[in-house]
């Protein structure tokens, strides 16, 4: 077996170790490389900036613990931005296993910004039905969520004054890790109830949402940890996303090096095999 062939059959645990170290070392010793802001992330930021005080901002945290590292920093930044702009925040989740995290992030950021539940914001919790919940909220918000997460009746909450359905929402952002997520909020929400919609999503979902971005069906897109890091920079409050970008850089570079090496070894072993077969013939 040639060197190249041996390298192609290397124990995968060595690759695991390389990836583990490439993630761990930059987290322990960050460098802090500059991060450029993309127009798609700026789209969401600029729209929230343009909203007048007291506007209704709906944040749907449509993800579960599997996507926490990507979408939690996005949630924190968006909530901080919305609270700073004194918007009225309505938060909810369409993913059952994300309920606890959604409650935690909304409560924590609200507490940090000195906001009061029921007056400045409301967390509606989770409801099954996925797309049916979106349509029902578009028809009658209080029917879809008769009570908030804490069991308090939604009717009469001062934060919801003048809000009967999704038609009264000024801006909605869905942070989606799959279905139901950004696409569902467009198809079953914005298409009929005509509110402005922005999106945030995991890296896996991001490329699939560009057609909606191009057609203006969503006015901005925060994609993955990189998008979250850009948003943290835009609101000038760096958090876990910016902290993770050095590790992200290192792992990407490691994978590129692995791909290049694998191709070098592949071509080397192919050339040797070809030469051997020629000399054999």
């Amino acid at each position: 077996m040639t060197f190249a062939e041996r390298m192609l059959k290397i124990d995968r645990r060595i690759i695991f170790l390389v990836i583990g170290l490439c993630t761990l070392i930059p987290l322990l010793y960050p460098v802090g490389l500059p991060i450029k802001i993309s127009p798609e992330v700026r789209g969401v930021y600029d729209h929230i900036e343009s909203l007048p005080e007291g506007s209704v901002f709906l944040l749907s945290l449509d993800f579960d613990p599997a996507s926490k590292p990507e979408l939690m920093p996005q949630s924190i930044s968006l909530l901080r931005h919305a609270f700073r702009k004194k918007l009225r925040v309505i938060a909810l989740t369409l993913w059952v296993s994300g309920t606890g995290m959604a409650d935690q992030v909304v409560t924590q950021v609200a507490r940090e910004m000195g906001k009061e539940s029921g007056k400045d914001y409301v967390f509606l919790g989770w409801s099954p039905g996925g797309t049916a919940v979106i349509i029902n909220m578009g028809q009658d918000l209080y029917g879809a969520f008769p009570a908030d997460y804490n069991g308090k009746p939604t009717k009469g909450l001062s934060v919801l004054q003048g809000v009967a359905s999704l038609r009264d929402v000024n801006y909605a952002v869905s942070l989606g890790a799959g279905n139901p997520g950004v696409e569902a909020w467009y198809v079953f929400g914005k298409d009929k109830y005509k509110f402005e919609l922005g999106g945030g999503c995991t890296g896996v979902m991001a490329p699939g949402l560009y057609p909606l971005l191009r057609s203006g069906q969503i006015n901005g897109l925060i994609g993955g940890l990189r998008g979250a890091a850009e948003y943290e920079i835009l609101i000038d409050q760096k958090g876990k996303a910016v902290a993770g970008m050095d590790a992200q850089s290192a792992t990407h570079l490691a994978i590129i090096v692995l791909v290049v090496l694998c191709n070098l070894f592949y071509f080397a072993s192919r050339n040797i095999a070809r030469r051997q077969s020629q000399s054999g013939a």
Partner: protein, 216 residues
């Protein structure tokens, strides 16, 4: 009786399908009221569907424990985890936190469910790296194009990549916004046409697999 078992459900699908497709184009107050009521019903039915979905696990693992099949101990752990969570859930009134204070149910969620699910997916990072090393080879022109696009996007989406090759940022933006968007758009149109066709087939009874089990 055969009508009730076979044609009855198909008739229900036909009527509800046609009514709710037409509803979109008829914004009359009565039709809107019907949409409001039925979507609320779907929320409630969705809850039952969820329980139905997870309950099949009860049977599978209960049988494993009863018969003491290989690995029944793990099924027992599963049961303990499930029943423990349910018990603490009832004790905490189904809430992870009450007025910002974590309940026992919230503790299970935060310190067991979140790290477990998070790590389950985090280990994929290692496997994607290993797969990239083992199979990401430029065997053909198409594979080479795929590989180059992947490398550009990987470089362009991280600060180090943009720092080492400044053009990679703009290049990956162009790939995502134009080339990728056009393909994704074609896929979206194709999949949507498929969805519409499937929905029509369901409504008119040409596709019945959703009716599933039960004797005819």
């Amino acid at each position: 009786m055969i009508f009730l078992r076979r044609q009855g459900p198909l008739l229900v699908t036909l009527i509800t399908g046609l009514v709710f497709a037409a509803q979109y184009y008829v914004p009359h107050p009565a039709s809107e009221q019907m949409l409001t009521s039925v979507t609320k019903w779907l929320q409630i039915i969705g809850g039952f569907a969820l329980v139905l979905g997870v309950s099949s696990l009860f049977h599978v693992h209960a049988a494993k424990i009863r018969r003491k099949e290989a690995g029944w101990g793990y099924s027992f752990v599963l049961y303990v985890g499930m029943l423990g969570t349910i018990a603490l859930g009832f004790w905490s009134n189904g809430k992870e936190a009450i007025d910002g204070t974590m309940t026992a149910f919230g503790w299970i969620y935060n310190y067991m469910m979140v790290p477990l699910q998070g790590t389950m997916f985090a280990i994929l990072a290692f496997f994607i790296a290993s797969a990239a090393y083992r199979s990401f080879r430029a065997r053909s022109r198409e594979a080479a194009v795929l590989l180059i696009a992947a490398v550009i996007v990987m470089m362009g989406r991280v600060p180090l990549g943009e720092y080492l090759i400044p053009i990679s940022g703009d290049l990956s933006q162009w790939i995502l916004n134009v080339l990728n968007a056009s393909v994704r758009r074609a896929i979206l149109i194709g999949v949507s046409l498929g969805t519409v066709a499937l929905s029509i087939k369901i409504i008119f009874g040409m596709e019945r697999s959703y009716l599933g089990g039960g004797k005819e």
